[in-house]
Amino acid sequence: MKYGVNEHGYYGDFGGAYIPEMLYPNVEELRQQYLTILNDASFKAEFDDLLKNYVGRPSPLYHAKRYSEKYGANIFFKREDLNHTGSHKINNAIGQILLAKRLGKKRIIAETGAGQHGVATATVCALMGIECVVYMGEIDMARQAPNVSRMKMLGATVRPASSGSKTLKDATNEALRDWIANPVDTHYIIGSVVGPYPYPDMVARFQSIISEETKKQLVEHTGKQLPEYVLACVGGGSNAMGMFYHFLDDESVKLVAVEAAGKGVDSGHSAATTFLGQEGVLHGSRTILMQTPDGQVVEPYSISAGLDYPGIGPQHAHLYKINRAQYVSVTDDEAMNAGLLCSQMEGIIPAIESSHALAQLEHMTFKATDNVVICLSGRGDKDLDTYIKHFNY
């Protein structure tokens, strides 16, 4: 693949495995094994079976008629919100738990921000009967309390990350520290296309099912394989990378990645990484990162807990730098309004993360013949409180 990773784990200038020696054996084991395992027939069969019968794939590609009328193009929603556990995160969690089993791991750790990845991981651990510890920032545990209860009910231990800014990046730090102390029996299920090589590539492969299905489904709807536009929101970038993956080499397809501008890109309360970040190293990869001139990582802000990560996956940093994808941002207010609009025009309450992708439609102009696919990465159940507060229902 033209935009894929090279043998050293790089996408252009980005990627690599900037990890302390304590993590080297764990990451090296993964690097050596992941492609062999992923290409193994029994792995593929088990993965496909679980995606079909447990997750409920393929997720529909829904032709949103009222949206199409409103925006003057054929708008399709890729319905990752209909997956078991309510978001795309389960695709990756299933892939990695099967991998962990084949590596003989006895214990799973994960980080989570909004709790969607934590819930997905707790779910697959319950399914496989494997011990599960999820790290979550203390602040996020308070603002996403229902997901904390879900993880506990699924049998996972949720450990508060109380260091630093007490949110997603600190939960990731704590998970990495746990992995350092448990180098042999534990697998770390990272929740997005971030982290040291091979994680960004591995997670992208597990999420690539999104665009693989989309291509086939679009033919059924339109007779064409390729849409004009593909849109997705970006936190770490896993739903976007899954949505872009099989369109990357089709240069006619315009890829649009939507970041969270929070209260505005220049407000000091934002998570628009490509607008506000510089090249740097965090959580094991060289990427674009929100940081001070002294190289200290800045805590981002977004109303959506799943998008307030200070970096983006290294492949996104590369696609941004070489202009293969367009990176834009929408504010809290724009996203919330888009969430409401989608609820009332299509009868779908989207996750606030996904509402960011929907909001970008307001800033685009289309030809009537354009086919536009938006990744509806998750459902809004977890966000009801936030929606209710915002709109005073």
Partner: protein
């Protein structure tokens, strides 16, 4: 391995001179610059030298220190709150070589160095009399392929870590790329634990000894007192005390307590 080891072009720095002169019971102390207050880096270094430390690791703080336990995390957070930056640290170090003669290493994570500029960082550190750098999250491939020239040009030693899980091949490669010492972790852990001498760990130290590496070895992580220091020195040329010393810095009148702290470990 048909390339000549790149280490040939190094001149002896203070670290090499120290290791040539003294082969046993070397004591190194780690502390975080800017903790508990700004403008104390050289004072603490001077006090540690007087008290009998053989060399020092001065940490520069980072917001996301993944290899560190609660004590050093806390010192880093506090140092950042106090306003410590690489620029400020380099200002504090202007006086270093007027007052301190033992070898000094800087230790910290890669991102602040990357922002400062790696070439500029190496040049500046060398100019101030720094002898080596420890960057836990700068991997061997990137070091060798992209950055080693700046270290070599400035006569700075890059220190690599080795854990009980590091493979023999990799240890050989690390030995080849090193020119001062190799930092042996007492276990796969973050900083701030305790020394465990299980059979497994003893085997690991013996395995390394049997490899007859060209570089001396220093054990770190979990060294907290005289007993753990002496045990570590049975297996390596010396040992490093970090978290335990950082805890001392949280106490009142810590400057006065430094001689007693070092004495208690060494004797």
């Amino acid at each position: 391995m048909d390339n000549e080891p790149s280490t040939i072009s190094y001149k002896m720095n203070r670290l090499n001179q120290l290791f040539a002169a003294k082969k046993e019971n070397l004591l190194s102390i780690y502390y975080t610059a800017g903790y508990p207050a700004l403008n104390t880096t050289v004072d603490i270094a001077e006090a540690l030298e007087k008290a009998g430390a053989d060399f020092l690791e001065v940490g520069f703080p980072y917001s996301d220190p993944v290899a560190d336990g609660p004590t050093i995390q806390h010192s880093s957070e506090q140092a950042l709150e106090n306003g410590m930056t690489l620029n400020l640290l380099f200002e504090e170090l202007t006086e270093l070589r007027k007052r301190v003669s033992i070898p000094i290493l800087l230790m910290g994570y890669f991102n602040p160095i990357l922002q400062y500029g790696i070439e500029r960082f190496c040049t500046k550190a060398a100019e101030l009399g720094v002898d080596g750098i420890i960057v836990p999250d700068l991997p061997m491939y990137e070091y060798e392929a992209l950055y080693s020239e700046h270290f070599i040009k400035n006569n700075l030693s890059n220190i690599f870590l080795v854990t009980p899980q590091t493979s023999p091949d990799r240890i050989r490669k690390i030995d080849e790329l090193s020119n001062a010492f190799i930092y042996l972790l007492s276990s796969s852990s973050i900083t701030g634990g305790s020394l465990q001498l299980t059979d497994n760990i003893k085997d690991y130290y013996k395995r390394i000894k049997a490899m007859e590496l060209k570089n001396p070895t220093i054990i770190g992580f979990g060294i907290t007192d005289s007993s753990s220091f002496k045990k570590a020195c049975e297996y390596a040329n010396g040992a490093i005390v970090g978290s335990k010393f950082v805890k001392l810095l949280a106490e009142e009148n810590y400057m006065e307590k430094i001689p007693g702290f070092i004495e208690a470990i060494k004797f």
